[in-house]
């Protein structure tokens, strides 16, 4: 954004401190606008006619350095781009890269339906939510418009996920648009050879478009400038993803150069989201495991360095899991506290016979343990000890998790074992085994040592619960 202090932002706000946005003052609202933790539209007064000009000016000043492009409609809409910084610690990255998994128009109907359904439903639980996949990329392998249209139709019958229509032939793309235009798919791609036809389609159907100029940044920029000069700005840039060797390094450099030009040097002509195509790994690896591994590696490289949307082929869990996790790693907001409230949580509906577990208030640790318990239908109480957001192993080593503070946190949470349980027993994590005696001394409770990984609690329960005597 072109503005960087709350005071500058404040000049444009109504300055009435009306509190409608939920903030106590307009200045507080301004500081949230600067760190992008609130939207300008949350200020209702500024949307009124009286402030129209200020709203528009401020909106322009606050636009992110890298344009945001929206694909799809409705609840599955995907937004890509929107970054303001080169490194995540400088603010945070916005809009995690959209993962588009491919299908192709020469697949059999049943194969295509099975693949689309799998992609649509794939999910992995992580820190209180599910990681999922975002889009379907439909590749025209046949080159035939009708065949492509049928594939697009079939995909749309089985998923609401946004689409990428992939062909270098405008006639094929148009066939896809005839059935998919209202879902606002992404067109892939306009090149130096076909750009006029693709430009016509983008204008006619008002859909975003990828500009593709492999290994040629001058041409890529020419395409962008031409589209922009002719009034079209829903653009995504693909400088090419070479899968191997020295040319892979060239592709990597291209991503760095374009992003630096956009963010650091304010070159608006190239300040667009970038597309990477890790599935080019399949052009050089015949063995399916090697190809999938290499695709995951490319996905990792371009997730860390500036890819905003990717086309991927492998649907093996050993590809999807690390890909979704590296994306979360890079795009998780470093400013968000990673602690949960320190208190005694109920999992399911515990009674006096139910076990009582202890973990730490590090969000990742807590949600992992909590979901392991809930998923296995173990009714229990779970104390999140205040370790200042450290995991069990680190907190034991650093002294933030000890017998005294476990006992204290039960007291603070008004959890009286003689009242709430009839076993007077607490179960500590296996990684905190050495605290057993310390906790017994501090609490007077019967202390049991659970497994080192909460995923093994169900097996541990079978052997050790209910507690004897």
């Amino acid at each position: 954004m072109k503005i960087n202090s709350p005071l500058e932002v404040y000049q444009y706000l109504p300055q009435t401190n009306c509190k409608e946005c939920g903030e106590p003052t307009c200045m507080a609202f301004a500081s949230h606008l600067i760190d992008r933790s609130i939207k300008l539209e949350d200020c209702k007064p500024i949307l009124e006619d009286a402030y129209k000009e200020k709203y528009q000016e401020l909106n322009e000043l606050m636009a992110p350095e890298i344009a945001e492009v929206t694909i799809g409609v409705g609840e599955h809409v995907v937004t890509v781009g929107g970054d303001d910084v080169m490194y995540r610690h400088q603010l945070t990255f916005f809009n995690p890269p959209a993962f588009a998994l491919d299908v192709w128009d020469t697949m059999s109907q049943s194969d295509l339906i099975e693949r689309v359904t799998y992609i649509r439903d794939f999910k992995k639980f992580y820190v209180g939510r599910f990681l999922t996949l975002d889009m379907i990329a439909i590749r025209s392998v046949s080159g035939d418009p009708d065949t492509f249209k049928q594939a697009v139709t079939l995909v749309m019958e089985h998923t609401q996920l946004p689409l990428v229509l992939c062909s270098l032939d405008p006639a094929v793309l148009q066939a896809g648009l005839e059935v998919a235009a209202e879902k606002k798919p992404l067109l892939y791609a306009a090149t130096k050879d076909n750009w006029q036809g693709v430009y016509d389609l983008a204008i006619e159907y008002n859909v975003p478009v990828v500009l593709f100029a492999p290994d040629d940044l001058d041409t890529l920029k020419s395409l962008a400038v031409t589209f922009l000069e002719n009034g079209y700005k829903d653009l995504i840039l693909d400088p090419g993803t070479n899968p191997q060797g020295r040319s892979l390094r060239d592709s990597f450099e291209n991503f760095l150069m374009i992003r630096r030009a956009g963010i650091k040097e304010g070159q608006n002509d190239v300040a667009f989201p970038l597309m990477a195509v890790p599935m080019t790994a399949y052009m050089t690896n015949d063995d399916p495991v090697s190809a999938s591994y290499w695709e995951t590696v490319l996905c990792g490289v371009f997730t860390v360095r500036y890819g905003d949307i990717m086309i991927l082929h492998s649907i093996e869990p050993y590809a999807l899991l690390p890909e979704m996790h590296i994306r979360d790693t890079v795009y998780t907001d470093p400013r968000t506290p990673v602690k949960v409230d320190s208190r005694v949580y109920k999992v399911g509906s515990p009674d006096k016979d139910s076990p009582v577990f202890v973990t730490t208030n590090f969000a990742l640790t807590f949600y992992t343990v909590e979901s392991d318990l809930a998923s296995n239908e173990i009714n229990c109480h779970l104390l999140a000890v205040d370790t200042d957001g450290l995991g069990v192993e680190a907190a034991v080593a650093g002294g933030q998790l000890n017998g005294k503070n476990i006992a204290d946190d039960f007291k603070k949470g008004n959890f009286d074992f003689s009242n709430k349980t009839n076993h007077n027993t607490v179960i500590i994590p296996g990684l905190a085994a050495r605290l057993q005696g310390d906790l017994e001394d501090n609490s007077g409770l019967n202390v049991m040592v659970g497994p080192p990984d909460s995923g093994r609690i169900p097996g541990w329960m079978e052997k050790n619960w209910p507690v004897e005597g």
Partner: protein, 435 residues
């Protein structure tokens, strides 16, 4: 070209054009709309209404949709052909792309050499140099003089490890020397790390002297540079590493590690006395790293060329975001001039195997999609953990699984530009036939 028009006038206009279907839409107030020449123009409707009103039409269709009017039904099947399109651009506008190099990166990362050959008082056949960069890894701003290197783990006793890892070492687990050999000869390790974990009083309490003999065996078995790791017990490690440093005199090993929670002065003194390099290990805290490096240099008089940092590695999904950003911040600080942070970095990438995704057979959560075969999941977990840190600036990787080592080596060499492979024509990747 911009025209301004009010919505109510638009409605009148629409009536004039006998597009009856929009009649009855009531619009309250006079909302002023900005209309630019191109955006949103729909040639289809332009055709229906005639070229002159094309600009208005483009917006009308959007407005109508906003108001919930089924414009698409009104339009029906596309009626245009190419000859009816409004004027379109004919030529690409020529452009040249340029971007500047980073002027701020003025400070070089310290070069550090591991291993000493006979001419330098050691017996190593290969010598490894890390550091020397003037940019983030693989950036075009400045060449990266040395590629990343990988040191593979050896333990001085059989230990519990993930099944996928263990299957590679079952035949050598009882002999650190054979294990080290296998790492170098079969798995292409650049270096080996001997972890003296049995010295922990809570494990076997092996004596420092006995542990030093294991180090001698490993030095005898391989001719690559080595890393010597203690057990992590802060009371015992100084003594263990002193004896190990003594027996490895002149070999320029990496002593792992000096940290703020043990007597780092003894580790530093041993490294100085016997000609080794110190691994400066802190836990995900850039300021602690700065403090320890400063103490090693100012208080213990360790030379700059004898320090490598380990700012701690957390596994993918288990804090890698902290480890990544910590390393990236350290490297950036070094490049712009912080002389207490511009050292090569090392990562305990093996920590990736602590992530349950790397070793569990199935997800413990019923709601998760199937996790697939773990023998493929584990190595890629280690690869992606390492790769992410490579991109942040890490130079040396301590690793475990042979497949992970091979793939991480290939990708880091590729990005480094030292891995020649034939280029592939990607211009029509769309039609790639894959199973």
């Amino acid at each position: 070209m911009t025209k301004k028009i009010t919505l109510s006038k638009l409605n009148d206009l629409l009536k004039d054009m006998e597009v009856e279907a929009l009649e009855g839409v009531t619009i309250e107030g006079d909302i002023e709309l900005e209309m630019d020449a191109i955006g949103g123009l729909n040639p289809q409707l332009a055709y229906l209404l005639g070229q002159e009103t094309a600009q208005i039409a483009g917006h009308l269709i959007n407005i109508s949709q906003l108001l919930g009017y089924p414009v698409d039904q009104l339009l029906g099947k596309p009626l245009i052909d190419d000859s009816k399109r409004v004027a379109q651009p004919k030529e690409l506008i020529p452009s040249t792309f340029k971007v500047n190099k980073m002027e701020e990166w003025t400070n070089e990362i310290q070069e550090v050499t591991l291993g000493a050959s006979s001419s330098d008082g050691g017996t190593r056949k290969s010598i490894i140099t890390l550091g020397g960069e003037n940019a983030l890894p693989y950036y075009f701003d400045s060449p990266m003089p040395h590629r990343n290197h990988i040191t593979m783990d050896v333990f001085d006793m059989p230990i519990g490890m993930a099944k996928a890892v263990k299957s590679n070492y079952e035949d050598v687990m009882d002999s650190p020397a054979e294990w080290a050999k296998k790492n170098v000869k079969e798995f292409g390790a650049d270096m080996v790390t001997i972890h003296l974990i049995s010295t922990d009083p809570n494990i076997k309490d092996t004596s420092a002297k006995e542990a030093a003999e294991t180090v001698a065996d490993v030095l005898q078995a391989v001719d690559v540079p080595i890393v010597i790791g203690g057990s992590g017990n802060p009371e015992k490690d100084p003594e263990v590493l002193e004896k190990a440093a003594e027996i490895a005199q002149g070999e320029r090993v990496l002593l792992a590690s000096a940290s703020l929670n043990l007597d780092y002065e003894r580790i530093a003194a041993a490294a100085k006395q016997y000609g080794h390099v110190v691994l400066s290990w802190t836990q995900l805290e850039i300021n602690a790293q700065k403090e320890l490096n400063r103490k090693l240099m100012k208080q213990c008089n360790v030379n700059r060329e004898d320090i490598i940092m380990d700012p701690t590695t957390a596994a993918l999904g288990y804090g890698l975001d902290y480890a990544y950003t910590n390393m990236e911040r350290i490297r950036l600080a070094g490049l712009i001039g912080d002389d207490e942070l511009n050292f090569p970095m090392s990562s305990g990438t093996t920590n990736a195997w602590g992530a349950r995704e790397s070793w569990m057979i199935n997800s413990p959560l019923k709601e998760d999609s199937d996790w697939g075969p773990r023998e493929y999941r584990g190595p890629i977990w280690e690869i992606i953990t390492g790769l992410t840190l490579a991109l942040a600036g890490n130079d040396l990787f301590m690793m475990m699984h042979p497949a992970s080592v091979a793939v991480l080596k290939e990708i880091t060499k590729s990005l480094h530009g030292s891995h020649a492979r034939n280029p592939v024509d990607i211009s029509n990747w769309i039609t790639t036939k894959v199973l």
